[in-house]
């Protein structure tokens, strides 16, 4: 018996030693087959995921060599406490996908969804399998903290479940103010900030100035649209921070281009990775919509749909300078916002519907919500850094911690809850 147990543990040890770039393609190939894809197609898809992951790792190296010294220079020269660079998905991804269980997040997430549908705990059929990725991050963090895969699994189930339930409750705003009937966002990011926005909805309607103060969306979109381009503001922010850090002109310009490159290239790597998953999404979507027809249920989409609302686009751009200023004055914040500055719309993806697309309310709430995220990102940084190192991520030279502005709030909540039992330290 012990020989069998030994063989099993050797086998799993070997799987883990393969690393995500090999383990992911193999696992996704098998999952693709299980979802009824042709072997050749499934093989190519799995390989694309491995390639995208490799590309993301390449980017992390480049980010490390530029962003690390920049954060250091800023801390030394200005005395600002912003010692934790925000490296965005470059840290989310390795942490999530170094977990063997991550390869099975799609079937597991669907299972949780189906069980909840059958028990009538939710009305949402989550057809966008990418909504399970943030839930997997809860798993990774809680398992990383407690050492228990079971607690990680519970955190995953909790995150999927609460996002479905909140998604149901928030769907009426999507129908009314985004004009998309039958749609919900069972996404862990939007479900949390939608929850946070509820009291603000009530509060804003009781402040006379804010209640009716709104801006013309079309003209604003025309005016600030080009400023919102992520490569342009990446360049500007990179140069600006370089000067603050005391770099000379040449080095500042070079750094500006690198920051712009990060904002453009990270998503490009993700595109490759994601494209390998579409056929599995497609198979899951077909299977789910046949069993749970759309007119009786909400169809769950990624909250990226809400980010593409005109009102959310404007708020996202207005929040960029606000976020940078807040990073310097928010007590307790150590995060230097960088890689995730292109995604500030996600904080208001759900709330904009609740605020009836009111730009002023969106900016006020967005600033508050991003402040919450900065503090979460700062407090979870030690854990995130340790997990990233274990996953093989390059940590920037001279920097002791990394984190990300888009730290998934339910992952923070479940990790915080777990930390109550492990001694309160992340």
């Amino acid at each position: 018996m012990s020989e069998i147990a030994n063989a099993i543990s050797v086998f799993f040890g070997w799987i883990n030693s393969l690393g995500a770039t090999v383990m992911l393609p193999i696992a996704l190939f098998l999952i693709g087959i299980a979802f009824g894809l042709k072997p050749a197609q499934s093989f190519v898809n799995g390989l694309r995921v491995g390639i995208g992951f490799y590309g993301l790792n390449l980017m992390t190296g480049a980010i490390a060599s530029t962003v690390g010294p920049l954060a250091n220079a800023l801390v030394e020269r200005t005395g600002l406490a912003l010692s934790i660079p925000d490296v965005g998905v470059a840290v989310h991804f390795p942490i999530t996908f170094s977990l063997t269980a991550a390869a099975f997040m799609i079937p597991l997430g669907i299972l949780v969804n189906v069980v909840m549908l059958l028990l009538k705990l939710t009305k949402t059929v989550d057809i966008d399998v990418w909504n399970f990725w943030p839930s997997m991050f809860s798993w990774a963090c809680v398992q990383g903290l407690t050492g228990s895969a079971f607690y990680g699994f519970l955190a995953f189930v909790f995150t999927v479940a609460i996002s479905l339930v909140l998604g149901d409750m928030q769907a009426k705003y999507i129908e009314k103010y985004y004009n998309m009937p039958g749609i919900s966002f069972p996404h862990p990011f939007s479900s949390f900030f939608g929850l946070l926005a509820w009291p603000f909805m009530w509060l804003f309607d009781r402040i006379p100035g804010i209640k009716d103060w709104n801006a013309d969306i079309d003209s604003l979109q025309k005016k600030i649209g080009p400023l919102g381009n992520s490569t342009v503001f990446g360049l500007v922010i990179g140069i600006g921070l370089s000067f603050l850090g005391g770099y000379d002109v040449i080095k500042a310009l070079q750094t500006g281009v690198v920051v712009a490159a990060i904002l453009l290239l990270l998503p490009e790597m993700l595109k490759v990775l994601m494209s390998g998953l579409f056929p599995i999404s497609e198979a899951a979507r077909k299977w789910l919509t046949q069993r749970f027809p759309g007119r009786e249920f909400y169809i769950g989409l990624d909250c990226a749909v809400g980010v593409a609302q005109p009102s959310a686009v404007i708020v996202a751009v207005l929040l960029i300078p606000i976020t940078l200023v807040m990073a310097t004055i928010l007590p307790g914040n150590k995060l230097l916002p960088l890689a995730d500055l292109a995604y500030l719309g996600f904080w208001v993806a759900m709330p904009m519907a609740m605020f009836k697309n009111n730009i002023v309310k969106g900016v006020l709430f967005g600033a508050f919500a991003i402040g919450v995220s900065m503090l979460m990102a700062t407090s979870i940084a030690p854990l995130v850094t340790r997990l990233a190192v274990e996953a093989g991520t390059t940590i920037p030279e001279g920097v002791s911690q990394i984190s990300m502005l888009t730290v998934y709030p339910w992952a923070w909540v479940t990790t915080w809850f777990s930390s109550l039992f492990t001694g309160g330290i992340f």
Binding site: G182, D218, N229, E282, D302, V305, A308, A312, Y343
Partner: protein, 102 residues
């Protein structure tokens, strides 16, 4: 409709890689079945303003205001499947108008 033209379409969502990519993949398959050639690029919505002019059509996960001098079609039905055929018809009609103009 010009059968040799390769239409340039921007698929827009908040992040520019997941939802928009999935929409792009499904739309590409559907257009191919109709014999229409298209080159579909995923665009994150904050980046759209500077690149909009490069495209014949914008399909956006949510309905964007029509301010780019390029026709915009809401595309979430392409993944939900509800209203898919109607959306496809609108897209093809807009593409026809583009090819008539040029």
């Amino acid at each position: 409709m010009d059968s040799n033209k390769v239409y340039k379409i921007a698929s827009v969502c908040g992040a520019g890689y997941a939802t928009s990519g999935w929409i792009a993949a499904r739309l590409n398959d559907a257009l191919q079945l109709k014999g229409i050639k298209a080159e579909i690029t995923e665009v994150k919505v904050v980046d759209l303003a500077l690149v909009a002019a490069n495209f014949d059509l914008i399909v956006s996960a949510s309905m964007l205001s029509d301010i780019y001098n390029v026709p915009v079609v809401a595309s979430s039905s392409i993944i939900t499947g509800i209203g898919f055929d109607e959306t496809l018809e609108i897209i093809i009609k807009k593409l026809e108008e583009v090819s008539d103009k040029k």
